[in-house]
Amino acid sequence: MSEEYLVNIEHEKLSFFTPAGEVKALNDVNIHLRQGEVLGIVGESGSGKSVTAYSLIGLTADPGKLISGSLYFNGHQVDQMTEKEMRKIRGNEISIIFQDPMTSLNPVYTIGNQITEVITLHTNKTKEEAKARAKELLELVGINEPEKRLKQYPHELSGGMRQRIMIAIALACEPKLLIADEPTTALDVTIQAQILELMMELKDKLGMSIIMITHDLGVVASMCDHIAVMYAGRIVEYGTTDQVFYEPKHMYTKGLIRSIPRLDTDEHQRLIPIEGTPVDMLNPPKGCPFGPRCEACMKICLKQNPPITEFDDTHYTYCWLQQKEAMERLAADSSAKSSGGGEA
């Protein structure tokens, strides 16, 4: 089963052992991603979106510890790999674009240096060949005068330009999987549009998969095939983009979609916020982590974490409400085939 997926994360539990106590960063996370697909992971800060992706390339070492579960990439079990084996994959088959292009480039090396480093490290190319490849890459990401740029330092470039360099570095070895961790959050909208367009173009050209980590629902709506909504270290809802946007099942997903102001309506509707404050990961609430903020919270939600409810092959959620509804619907269906299901 792990063969058909490029990325297959099963029941991953990961904790950080901090001086203040154990932070259960990931709780039973499952992710399946095929070649060429784009998966969006959305959620607020601290929900575990980055950790999920980082654990795949072994960037959660030290205070972080994998408690249980298994992580497969391209058929190989990543969590059993030694650091040496990991280094062969990292930057080569899986690469990553970080959020902040201002801080993720080394300020004392030239752009050329930083791109060729990746190429010489992972391939047998000579310095000259690597340089030629670096130039090619800069052209690929739409940077003018690549010759000149290779000799420049990061501070000489604008934010959008730096993010393009990051993408060029990430693509240097034609990875099978690109992890984009809030790649456009630090950028302006018009530059964001350029970068997103570029990423989609390159995805089609190179046939890679993308894991897109973001808190911007607009970004996932336009780019992703599947969406995982995370809250307090759990995937609370998973489905295709259309399913998550048009048939959201989890109360948190519904709340998120309702709470964003829309550009396409003229009437002034009051926003419906999600009340309460984000979860304190050191002392997460008992039961469903979203329970204390949920408007439809029931007694059981504060006692026990809900089991999975699957709607079809691609769409599932963890919500007691869906359990109850599912049961009610079954009962109603069996007794008399009357009205169709309608949601509140």
């Binding site: 909208v189 549009a193 916020p273």
Partner: protein, 341 residues
Amino acid sequence: MTEKNEDFIVVEHLKQYFPAGGHGKNKKYVQAVDDVSFTIKKGETLGLVGESGCGKTTTGRSLLRLYEPTGGRFVFDGDVIFDVEKKEYANMLPYRKRMQIVFQDPYASLDPRMTVGDIVGEAIDTHHLAKNDKERYDMIIELLRKVGLNSEHANRYPHEFSGGQRQRVGIARALAVNPDFIVCDEPISALDVSIQAQVINMFEDLQRDLGLTYLFIAHDLSVVKHISDRIGVMYLGRMVELAPANELTNTPLHPYTESLISAIPVADPIKARTNKRIVLEGDVPSPVNPPSGCRFRTRCSRATEKCAQSAPEFKELVPGHFVACHHVTLEEAQKKLAKND
């Protein structure tokens, strides 16, 4: 004095330059804000959008005299706050009670060594608004209640609060002096999505209850549209378009506003697939050395010779709709407006 009833806030030809190295003749300036004019009525919200470095924050700060303005005139409720030409500058202390600001970063704008009560109470002390300690305490608690916090919070320190709660403290601090006018400088961009709506609603409630006038600065056009009556769009220190919120988002006239709106990712998969983005080429030029003429011309698809030679005038093309572009004509504007009506 006629201005008093009509426009609460009148800003004319505001200029704010910052020195950027060089000496004598070669002295360079960052032209952060260059010739920006607008008005705000009492109880109205004017939204200001634009990309980083376009001068929206600087505009807000210059009005509060957090910088010394390089040029222009600012009339607040009929009183001249500054008029650089005539060298008139008002004593700010009494006006600080009427104009306040909420800063962008709730993590950096609260003193970590002061309790929340003292942060909110500082303004009460400065302006001697309370007669005794009891009254001061009551005022602080009342303010915290207004922003959805409670009395226990007064003795805590900022680090004990979440981002959304800190921003509430920042708002309570601004409200402490009972202001009429608040500059909201990206007050929600550092907050999580689920928290943003709470804070936006609070801004709206406070405006309704206290009759506040806002200058709401943000880079997120959807948020600005939601909260504003009118919106101004800035690019590289200049105002390029200003119109009622719905009209601006439905019928943008300036090419920059058009591309800005089309670049915003829509949180609706079907619309997102069909939407055609106008992707702007290149980056924003440096404000130290802005392009001649129209500042947008280096990235504009309609740019011609004329755009390089002279800067377009910021004029009211259709009633209430201001644009600064050589190519947008009255006929074109009317046609577009009629189509989207």
